[in-house]
Every structure is written in C-alpha cells, then in structure tokens.
C-alpha cells in the first residue's frame, strides 16, 4: 500500500530488532523522512478532530435550551428519510402505491421530509439570530446553508418521482421554471428515470456528505456561545475575534 510503511518484525529490516520490534520499528520508519499517506491522513484527522472533540462527554451550560434541539432533530429526520427511502427504492412504485405497508412507508418518507424541513428552518432561524458564524465558524454556517439549498432540489425530484397525477402536475409546472433558467435540457423534470436517479443517488450523496461535513465542523469549533459569554471571554484591547474570523 505504501512505500514507507513499517516493515513486519520478521523481515529483519533495519530498525526491526529481534525482540520487541513493533514500536521501535514504527518510530524508526516515521523518523526516516517520507511518511505514508495513511499516517499523514491519520495525523491530520486526529489533529483537526481529537477523539474528545469528536465524541464529547458533555456540552457547555448554554446548550441547555430547546433552541439547540432542532439541529439534532433535523439529523434524526434525515436518518428516517434515508432509511425509509432505501426501502421504497428497493420495493418500487407498484409496492408504495398498491400495498398497505407500501403506503405506510411512503407516508413515513413524506412526513420525515416535512419534519426535516420544519426543524431545519427553525434551526436556521435560531442560528441566524445567534450569528452562529462568529468565532471562526464561517464554514459551519456555509455548509449548513449549502445543505439547505441542496435539500430543496432533493425534495423536488422526490415529488416528481411519485408516479402519480400529483407528480405529473408538479413536473409540468416545474418544467417551465427549469426551461426559463436554461436547465430544462439536461435537468428534465418530466423524465422519471433521470429524476429518480437524481433523487435516490446524487442528491442523497450530496445532502448526507454536506451534512456530515457540517456536523464535523460543529464538533471541531464547538457550539456557538451566546453573545454575553463571548463578550465576557474576549481578551481586553485585542480586536474582535467574533467578527474577524479568528479560529476559536
């Protein structure tokens, strides 16, 4: 896999002694200059997100509020969306239209989407009024905004993939909008196969990927503190770290 990897203890390579070669051999090989990409990736990952930050055992006092619940509620809804969507995609349109269980999963999927957008919008309002981009959290804010923007066409492609009159109505209305912005040729909302591919593969990968980046960035920078706490912790006569983008 990698040129500079630690040789096995039995290889008799320099640095791998006859007894207890593992640890000393690893130190020797990494100190010899060229390190493998796995080591560099691991060190970068652990440096950016040490385990106690990635999976903390507590949160600051100010997180004891209902307004901080909506982000994780959005995540929970996304998990239900992905789970129910997986089952719907495996079983197909005939199942979700013609069977009781299919109707049930169809409804679970729809209402999880409604809940997803509901909680995401309340989360967005809360973070907007907290100015959650303070303290070097600009990327946290931007990934959240991008997740919201990608979720909209993800939902649209779902509505036009229902395989019913509702989907036909929505797709013909959306066709005009897509044509008017010049996207109708390659993003054809009346083409079920194309929309279904976008809906069950490309948009889910994009949404889940951006949401994962968003959560990891939240873990890295921590939950944004209230204005009063940020002011109190600010060092005297040293500019404004909340507004100049300094890392937290």
């Amino acid at each position: 896999m990698s040129v500079g990897a630690t040789p096995p203890p039995s290889s008799g390579a320099p640095g791998a002694g006859a007894s207890g070669a593992g640890a000393s051999g690893a130190v020797a090989s990494t100190s010899q200059g060229k390190r493998s990409w796995t080591v560099r990736t691991r060190e970068a990952g652990v440096g950016a997100l040490p385990p106690e930050k990635l999976l903390p055992d507590g949160q600051p006092t100010y997180v004891d509020s209902w307004i901080y619940v909506f982000g994780v509620a959005t995540l929970a809804a996304l998990m239900v969306i992905v789970g129910s969507g997986l089952i719907l995609s495996l079983k197909g349109p005939a199942w979700w239209h013609d069977t009781g269980v299919g109707h049930f999963f169809n409804s679970i999927h729809l209402w999880a989407v409604e809940l997803f957008f509901f909680t995401m919008v309340v989360h967005l309002w809360g973070k907007y009024w907290m100015a959650a981009w303070r303290g070097g959290r600009a990327r946290v804010w931007m990934t959240g905004a991008i997740a919201f923007l990608i979720a909209i066409p993800a939902a649209l492609t779902g509505y036009v993939s229902q395989q019913n009159f509702d989907a036909q109505w929505i797709s013909t209305q959306a066709k005009d909008a897509m044509n008017s912005i010049g996207a109708g040729a390659f993003f054809n909302v009346t083409n079920f196969g194309q929309m279904y591919s976008w809906h069950i593969l490309l948009f889910p990968i994009a949404v889940v990927g951006v949401v994962a980046a968003h959560v990891l960035l939240v873990r890295r920078h921590g939950v944004v503190p209230p204005f009063e706490l940020a002011e109190r912790s600010k060092p005297p006569k040293q500019g404004h770290p909340e507004t100049d983008g300094a890392p937290s």
């Binding site: 006092t61 004891d64 509020s65 209902w66 307004i67 619940v69 909506f70 409604e114 509901f118 919008v121 309340v122 309002w125 809360g126």
Partner: protein
C-alpha cells in the same frame, strides 16, 4: 378511522389559497410557516427539562472547588 380523518381533511377539492395584494400562498403552507414561528418562540421561552437542576449542581461544584483551593 380513515373516513373520520378524511371528513376533517377533505383533500378532494382545489387547495385553499391565501391571497392578499401581491402575497399568494396555499393555506397549508401558511399554517406550516405559522407553526414554525410558534415553535421557534416556544423554543426560546420554554425552560429545558433539568437545566435548572444541572445549573444548581454546577454552581455547588464551583463553590466547593473554590473552597477546596482556599
């Protein structure tokens, strides 16, 4: 059960629309947006369960720590 629910939420009609000057939106969307505003305000105003207890425990711990340092 389904008959009762469908009697309350009769969907076999064109959607109701709220129309005021330039503003036009389906009633269901207006209801959802109003609900989001209500939930947002409640989330700010309502106390979080156990927050006061945890705050009291932290204050007590802070006091005992500072007493131990002295």
């Amino acid at each position: 059960m389904i008959d009762v629910i469908s009697a309350i939420f009769d969907l076999n009609n064109p959607a109701h629309v709220v129309h005021w000057h330039f503003f036009e939106m389906s009633l269901s969307n207006v209801i959802v947006i109003c609900l989001m505003l209500v939930v947002f305000v409640l989330a700010i105003l309502l106390p979080f369960p156990g927050a006061a207890r945890r705050q009291a425990a932290r204050t007590l711990k802070g006091k005992s720590d500072s007493a131990a340092r002295r």
